[in-house]
Amino acid sequence: MEGTFREHLFFIVLCLSVLKGDTRYIEENDITPEGLYALLNSELKREIPETLIYSRPLRCLDMVAVEGQFTFTADRPQLSCAAFFIAEPNQVISVEYDSVDIDCRGGDFIKVFDGWVMKGEKFPSSQDHALPLMERYVDYCDSGTVRRTVWSSQNVAMLFFRIHTAGSSFTLTVRKPINPFPCNIISQTPEGSFTMIAELSLGHLNDFPIKRSIPGCAGAGDFVELLGGNGMDPSKMFPVADLCYNFNGPAQMKIGCDNTVVRMVSSGKFVNRVAFQYRLLDRQELQRIKVNSVEDFCFTG
């Protein structure tokens, strides 16, 4: 019968197209961070006149907080170089390779790290970052494309590079697109104030005070913790205080550590908000101020 013959024919054609591979690839239709930032920052694609682009050489050890073009030229073999990038709390970092003249096969590399890593400890910690550790390193030599842009997930990023031959160089353009959902932040200033808001739930707003009968916040889905430590990784820091109930009065704490972290964990069922101020203490104040200081586990005198 002709009807069934047509159906069979269509079925064969379908199978053939499947084999050809047309339907074998899954299209990525979800919004990737790159896509999102590109969308939100389309004004950056406009041609900015060259005189307005900040440009300077990149040093083997460098800290960059400004947008612009940075060129590193090796005058001698440089085997361990690192550049830190930091932006405002509501920005991320994008690194674009403009021109790269290095010898990948000879052991040269340029790697962008999504976060900061020092002495083996990374910020944000693995538990607070969406990507597994290996994916946070993006190696220029691995990419097949000549021109690539790498975006960070938070306001800090790093570059590690090694160049064996004098004369090799590379140029990067660093931009700081706005981040609509800042989550992990390193502050640039020795003092400041922040309000962290987690409005992740799409449902109702729960406004009742939560009173915990169990001391401590173990097992709470929503809490704020104050951490202190001498490393970069918040998951390796010591908890100084934790809060898992509504708290309105100001409370002050002194943390005698190199780094202090205020970390808010939200289950998504509630709208959580924490507002805090901080100030870097100098040595004198550190010794003088004794109020609310948990035994100085970091500060050894």
Partner: protein
Amino acid sequence: MKPVPLILLLATVLLSSHIPHSVCRPRDLAMFDGHGYKSQLDEVLLKAGDNAVSYLIGEKILRYLQRNPRLQAGLHPQFPFEVTPLGSRGIGHLARSLPPLEEQRALEEGNSLEDLVEMTKRNNDPPISIDLTFHLLRNMIEMARIESQKEQAELNRKLKLISSLGRQPSSQQKKPFHIVSDL
């Protein structure tokens, strides 16, 4: 058409379609070699590349050398080196160039290196890292912030200049448009 010939046709088409052989080949044929752990170490080092596995192995080697100072005599004049991520080839050469250990220590060192090999296989988690004090880091942040503020001020100044140039007063005043009615 009858279902059976159709199925046969489909089967023929599927079987004759080209599937590249490389898809099914095991990734690393060397896995099937029965060599000792030295070659395992080589592979791990090569795979790890320039990252802190070499950092960690470098540290182990350094500690081993420190424990056996007489071995340093026969080594490259660069030693003792600071523990920075060495090239994988460099570390490989280094590991191989170390003379065989004494029996007593051999087991313990062998075990620790073996552990390292296992660790890197199990958990490919070697970050390239840098060693700075936070005091230095804070100073660098401060300097970068000043640079950023200066540049922002400079940019504002340039933009202001450009926008003021664009607002030049016109030489000809536009005449107001009058409607004159002669009614």
